[in-house]
């Protein structure tokens, strides 16, 4: 009988309850890998003195976990990687899955380089030290830290300036300073570790392309949802159809303005719709445009059920687009920008429509088409639910993508 392979998951930020999509993703991946008959163990760096990093209660997680506690002054390239390495080595893994981490991640990767390592990137943390977004002045930034490091170092420092000068160290800037990410040696470290990874997981093809020149084993694995947890009832018949945009609508990169402009075009000729956005500035809005504030998971599921059409109009290369999958799981047609992971999620003409990012006229046209055709909405919603079940449900996604990946790395 062969012993079960052991996979150590290492995350420098993981919190549960989750703080964001990366935490949710990792949680489900670990559970799924456990179901694939691997021994799993999560190692999390924790520090109570700064922003929430590693806030977990290991006994409350459905898999074994170790919280490695640090004081604020220990969050450095000299201390943190060494302590993580000691904890991981003591468990004797067959492979390491290095998940979320920003500027200190390359140091941790180097400390764990004696294990076959898979590195997961959730946004553009490797290519955009400014803010992991590759988005400047309303468009996708043409630079990449891997290819144009000096341009990106200078750009990152411009953004960090306010935080550094006022000693207002936020998560990004505090680690930027601690990791000496401004130094040329840091770039060498990033490239060195990138080449050494046994496999790299990117969220979309755009990010994969940026890493391809440095490693032959970059693959795209989408995020997932627990489809069964999303109710999928047909929307109630109402005089004004609800067009919903969820996510961080305050963020200009999310493209709320495009949706507003499209709404303005529609409102000139019809009044059978209402746009709802999860924006916390309640002062914005009018008769047909409503800011409805931030909602938790339960609230979001209710919002999807109350909606007729969902819109996601980001201007940046959205790494994945979980909200679009959630809307599809709720059986709603989705109109999304043709960017990043969204163009893989939405099948144009089948589960919704894709439009060019920032194209308000194009979006208005597609919304009008959906508003006028209840049968099309129903058909696209049903196709979206089917696609969410087939491609993005954790129970199918893990065996399909992570099974072969782990098999290859631990061989």
């Amino acid at each position: 009988m062969t012993a079960r392979k052991r996979i150590a998951f290492v995350d420098l930020y993981f919190c549960w309850p989750p703080h964001g999509g990366a935490d949710v993703d990792l949680y489900h991946v670990i559970r799924g890998v456990q179901d694939l008959d691997y021994d799993v163990h999560l190692f999390v760096s924790n520090c109570d003195e700064t922003f929430e990093r590693g806030t977990i209660t290991p006994s409350e997680l459905p898999f074994p976990a170790t919280r490695v506690d640090f004081e604020r002054r220990e969050i450095t390239p000299d201390v943190l990687p060494e302590r993580i390495r000691d904890a991981v080595d003591a468990w004797k893994p067959d492979a390491v899955f290095l998940a979320h981490g920003f500027f200190l991640k390359p140091y941790v990767a180097k400390a764990l380089a004696h294990h076959p390592t898979i590195s997961r990137y959730y946004a553009y943390e490797l290519t955009c030290p400014r803010d992991n977004r590759l988005f400047r002045e309303g468009v996708t930034c043409p630079n990449s830290y891997l290819a144009t490091p000096d341009v990106c170092r200078s750009c990152a420092l411009d953004l960090m300036k306010g935080d550094i000068v006022h000693e207002r160290l936020a998560p990004g800037s505090e680690e930027y300073v601690a990791a000496r990410a401004y130094a040329p040696a840091y770039h060498r470290l990033v490239i060195e570790t990138l080449r050494a990874f046994r496999a790299i997981v990117a969220s979309n093809g755009f990010h994969k392309q940026q890493m391809d020149p440095f490693n032959d084993h970059v693959r795209v694995i989408p995020g997932g949802v627990d489809v069964a947890s999303f109710p999928c009832e047909p929307p109630a018949d109402k005089a004004r159809k609800v067009i919903l945009m969820t996510g961080r609508a305050e963020d200009p990169a999310k493209g709320m303005q495009t949706l507003y402009d499209a709404g303005e075009r529609l409102a000139a000729t019809r009044n059978d719709f209402e746009i709802r956005v999860t924006h916390s500035d309640y002062a914005i809005g009018n008769d047909w445009f409503k800011a409805i504030g931030w909602h938790g998971h339960e609230g979001i599921m209710r919002l999807y059920q109350e909606s007729d059409i969902c819109v996601f109009p980001p201007l940046w290369q959205e790494p994945f687009g979980l909200v679009a999958v959630e809307a599809m799981a709720s059986g709603r047609p989705v109109c999304a920008s043709r960017v990043g992971g969204l163009q893989d999620i939405v099948v144009d003409g089948e589960t919704g429509f894709l439009f060019d990012s920032g194209d308000a006229a194009g979006l208005a046209e597609r919304l009008a088409q959906l508003l006028d055709a209840p049968e099309l909405r129903r058909r696209m919603g049903a196709a979206g639910r089917e696609r969410a079940e087939a491609e993005y449900d954790w129970t199918r996604l893990i065996p399909k993508h992570y099974g072969p990946l782990l098999e290859e790395v631990t061989r």
């Binding site: 929430e52 170092r153 006022h166 000693e167 401004y182 490239i191 931030w294």
Partner: protein
């Protein structure tokens, strides 16, 4: 019998206000918590459920140049006679506002949700800000020199495979 503490929590964008109020309620179950929200904020929202009272400011937004507006805001805050004034971020402007509120204690919410006391005196706040600014400027200058004088382009990085 001790008097009920009156705590004002000043709303800022970018933090989960409901979560802040909830945590504060856990920490101060006996206090009278007042949520200070911008003009136009829907007061009936369930996210304000942990506040005992909700006060709207006179304006939805304040600018540093709007001296009259700011004076009105300070007068409004002083009139409420808070025992404790809580801001959501430790920014220089919010620190000064908290100092001007004349609350006996001031605090900001740290990123991990803890309440961190700050100096309620105006002179102390300004001195603190100046000191931080000098230290921060020096660190920034050091990093700027490294970024602009030591280029990766001149390093001996080998090309990719």
């Amino acid at each position: 019998m001790s008097e009920q503490r009156h705590i004002g929590v000043f709303h800022s964008k970018g933090r989960n206000f409901a979560e802040v109020l909830r945590r504060l309620r856990e920490q101060e179950p006996e206090a009278r918590i007042c949520a200070i929200v911008p003009y136009g904020y829907p007061v009936g929202r369930e996210e304000l459920a942990h506040a005992d009272e909700v006060v709207e400011t006179e304006k939805a937004q304040y600018s540093i140049r709007d001296v009259a507006g700011l004076c009105g805001l300070v007068t409004q805050l002083r009139g409420a006679r808070f025992d404790r004034f809580v801001i959501l971020f430790d920014s220089p402007r919010l620190r000064i506002l908290s100092a001007l509120s004349r609350a006996r204690q001031c605090a900001h919410i740290a990123l991990d949700g803890r309440l961190v006391s700050i100096r309620p005196s105006i002179a102390g706040t300004i001195a603190d800000i100046v000191l931080r600014h000098i230290r921060g400027r020096m660190l920034y200058a050091w990093i700027w020199i490294i970024v602009h004088t030591r280029r990766v382009g001149r390093s001996r990085l080998k090309p990719g495979p």
